[in-house]
């Protein structure tokens, strides 16, 4: 086939083009022709199709995501907001932190190990591209039913992939989630987040400015990986094989990425780059068009110079390739030599592939002939925007009317005891140590808290002990019952987890996992969830700094539960003041903070005991969350509490059991007046936490809560080797430990 040059395209306006196969709609193709004033070349068509895909252009979600900016709370900490590779916040002492969560859902279903591994690789490069040293990763995960055979295939591969890649990069894994639900059968959710740290002056942006500056591609060679992956995989049908016979799966090389990190940080250290972008989805198409679009001029690229792993690749394929472990930098000519020298030191291949030009066009050449001549903004930032129709599903009312409060409750103490054991042993509530022990949480020597703590925490300055914390949460069951409230609950829980660790919540990233946007019901869930999240962020004062949307998570007509996963980043001035979850000191008093109501909709109890999902999720009170957070942070700062654990799915009893097992100490609990033992133990009312208070601090602590209007109830004492609910039952720690720890390994061997 002869080369489809710009000239050839101009001369053959009526040539047939496979725009539909590439996932473009008729009107989109027409718009491309209009923008260019001619038909696109094959390379241009490839670029537009991939950049205008749902995955890259956010065309279905954009109109809703706008709220995160429109309703953003005043926040002096925000240094870089939505739109860059990741948001950046000021954490004091001259430090800035960048963080983000992304999805790699579908690839992880097809090839669990590589899909998950490259998910980690991708998010780490995003963080690196901001100028930061990556310091930790987190991995919120969702799988099908725990006992489904396919979960046995997918879960171990995903976990090994996340571990295999993250461990090899030397990034401590400090948190995440593992949730099982049949709704994720065939559509597991593999989200991965990363935190990076830099000094303010080191912030880098993805823009190509300064005509004459060189464009340097560095890292791995370009191969045929994942071609069509972005446009086809993340597009309408999952089983389409794409435009080329190339593999849709990328294979990661964490070793190469580790070199890329160290090499890039050294380059940053010598201030050698004017702009930088990682190569992720849509590869060079994305990097060149985004850099040029965000910059001041145009760009010219010679594709022949791109180092290839496979010499047979066509120019279109080179542009679309999603080969991993690559970065693209804009470098002043005088600094190129030093740049290349550092790359050589780290055994990283680096090549000048083009330069920034005076013009306003992105021009790409192949064998001396021009194959791309486009206005970069139209590719990268001015893609289509859909206002998809949305409508509250017909079944929503019936679902909400199916009140979980009406479910039969345990008849007596014996049954209550049995249900507690069943709950803590259920796959979603059981210990995830079998999984998290496959992740290095110690590397870099700065990990203060990691799993199974409420939030992960790392020290970022050894002299001052400044630290950052992160938690990720999401509850698809709550969100299915009420998407607006469910999204707010995800934020509230994550916020609460960070505060419980002693850190001050600062900012938010999110990964919005939903079904097909072409289903008006799903679109309604999406609209409600984003509205809920934006409203709640405004109220809590924690702006969304960036995130990711994953749509089409569905099989046939059946979508996953809407699953917004929310990551909250917090800061702590002195990590010595961090609060662990462990009840470690006999005789300390256990207090319950917050109000407990009859709230069982979407609860773990309703799922584990009755396999039920219905009613309304717990009510959200964001003022209360804020107050609870302030109390937890003050109490930690002033040394009033030795342990804190937030209450969420599984309710109070789950939290008490976890704190007891973590500390190796039992607890004697008294059911507060006015509550049934059942409600006390299993209710999932939000805005609550338990704390353990040294006797010497009791008055000071309760006075503080009283003065600030936070309900505080003394519910027991840390003591013995069993969990006792007075007048109801006792459960030896050893029995609880077995129940809690044996489930996951038994499911997966």
């Amino acid at each position: 086939m002869s080369l489809d040059t710009v000239k050839h395209a101009t001369d053959t306006p009526d040539a047939d083009q496979p725009w539909a196969e590439l996932g473009l709609k008729e009107d989109e193709y027409a718009r491309i022709r209009e923008i260019l004033g001619r038909r696109p070349t094959g390379a241009e068509l490839a670029m537009y199709s991939v950049m205008w895909s749902e995955h890259c252009s956010y065309k279905s979600s954009k109109v809703h995501l706008k709220q995160f900016g429109d309703k953003a709370p005043e926040n002096d900490a925000m240094l870089v907001g939505i739109g860059e590779n990741a948001g950046v916040v000021d954490v004091g002492q001259g430090y800035a932190v960048t963080f983000k969560v992304e999805s790699h859902n579908h690839p992880s279903y097809i090839e669990p190990y590589q899909g998950a591994a490259t998910g980690v690789g991708g998010i780490v490069r995003d963080i690196l591209a901001m100028g930061a040293r990556p310091v930790a990763v987190v991995d919120p995960l969702r799988f099908g039913a725990a006992d489904h055979p396919d979960t046995k295939r997918v879960l171990p591969g995903v976990v090994a992939g996340i571990g295999g890649y993250g461990n090899c990069l030397g990034l401590p894994n400090i948190g995440g989630e593992v949730v099982f639900d049949p709704c994720y059968q065939g559509n597991p959710l593999v989200n991965a987040g990363c935190i990076g740290v830099m000094k303010h002056e080191d912030i880098h942006l993805a823009q190509a400015s300064g005509p004459g500056n060189k464009v340097i591609l560095y890292g791995a060679r370009t191969g045929g990986d994942g071609i069509g992956g972005v446009s086809v995989l993340a597009s309408e049908t999952f089983d389409a094989t794409g435009p080329a016979k190339r593999p849709a799966v990328q294979v990661g090389d964490p070793f190469q990425e580790k070199l890329l990190i160290e090499c890039t940080l050294e380059i940053f250290g010598e201030k050698l780059v004017a702009g930088i972008q990682d190569l992720g989805g849509a590869g060079l198409s994305c990097a060149t068009s985004e850099l040029a679009s965000a910059g001041s001029g145009g760009m010219r690229v010679d594709l022949d110079t791109v180092p290839l792993r496979d010499a047979t690749l066509s120019p279109e394929e080179i542009l679309m390739s999603e080969s991993q472990e690559r970065m693209c930098a804009i470098v002043e000519p005088a600094k190129v030599a030093r740049f290349l020298e550092i790359c050589e030191k780290w055994d990283v291949i680096a090549t000048v592939i083009g330069e920034v030009t005076e013009g306003e066009r992105l021009e790409i050449f192949w064998h001396g002939e021009q194959i791309v001549d486009v206005p970069p903004r139209t590719v990268a930032h001015e893609g289509p925007v859909y206002h998809r129709p949305y409508a509250r599903p017909e079944w929503q009312d019936a679902l909400q009317a199916d009140d979980a409060g009406k479910l039969p409750r345990p008849a007596g103490s014996a049954e209550l005891r049995e249900q507690v054991l069943k709950l803590v042993a259920s796959p979603n509530q059981a210990s995830k140590a079998w999984i998290t022990d496959q992740y290095d949480r110690f590397v870099q020597g700065n990990t203060v808290l990691a799993q199974p703590e409420d939030a992960g925490m790392v020290r970022i300055d050894e002299k001052t002990n400044l630290g950052v914390a992160m938690a990720t949460d999401g509850n698809g069951r709550y969100t299915k019952l009420d998407p607006y409230t469910g999204a707010q609950l995800a934020l509230a829980e994550s916020y609460r987890n960070v505060a419980a660790s002693g850190a001050r919540p600062l900012a938010v990233s999110d990964c919005l996992n939903f079904g097909s946007p072409e289903d008006p019901g799903v679109m309604w869930q999406f609209a409600e969830a984003t509205r809920g999240l934006a409203d709640a962020c405004l109220k809590l004062g924690t702006p969304v700094t960036g995130g990711n949307v994953s749509l089409y998570n569905q099989t046939g007509d059946t979508a996953i539960h809407p699953t917004p996963v929310v990551a909250v980043l917090g800061v702590i001035d002195d990590v010595n003041r961090r609060t662990p979850i462990a009840f470690a000191e006999e005789g300390q008093l256990i207090y319950l903070l917050g109000d407990t109501k009859e709230e069982f909709g979407g609860s773990a109890w309703s799922q584990v005991i009755h396999d039920h999902l219905g009613g309304l999720p717990p009510a959200v009170d964001l003022d209360r969350e804020k107050l609870l957070g302030e109390i937890l942070i003050s109490a930690s700062r002033d040394g009033m509490i030795d342990a804190a654990h937030d209450l969420s799915d599984g309710g109070l009893v789950q939290a008490v059991v976890e704190s007891c097992l973590r500390g190796g100490k039992g607890a004697r609990l008294v059911v507060p007046d006015g509550l049934s033992a059942f409600t006390f133990l299993f209710s999932e009312s939000a805005g609550r936490a338990i704390v353990s208070v040294p006797r010497s601090e009791e008055l000071r602590f309760t006075d503080m809560c009283g003065a600030r209007g936070l309900p505080v109830t003394r519910i027991g004492v840390v003591d013995g080797e069993e969990v006792e609910v007075q007048g109801e039952f006792t459960l030896p720690l050893a029995e609880l430990k077995r129940a809690h720890e044996e489930t996951i390994p038994a499911l997966l061997v």
Binding site: E111, A220, P247, V249, D347
Partner: protein
């Protein structure tokens, strides 16, 4: 008992970081003239009973569904003499 060998290699178009690392190390060790290295897996199966067409078909199936992930890997089944 007969031995059947299943060789599983990454498809040619798939990145093989291990093979690359090995290849890059060779010149440093004084071994020149190796243009490419690919690293794969070799499974040696001890098969009970006769290795007839039927048995081979079953092993083929096993390789396809379990020993190899055909999204990224090719495999070959051979009877070892």
């Amino acid at each position: 008992m007969a031995r059947v060998v299943v060789d599983v290699m990454l498809k040619p178009e798939i990145l093989d970081p291990q093979g690359q690392a090995v290849q890059r190390a060779l010149p440093r060790l004084g071994f020149d003239g190796i243009a490419d290295v690919r690293q794969g897996k070799r499974f040696e199966l001890e098969v009970e009973g006769p290795v007839d067409e039927d048995a081979l078909a079953r092993i083929h199936k096993m390789a396809e569904t379990f020993l190899a992930n055909t999204v990224i890997e090719d495999f070959v089944v051979r009877v070892e003499s």
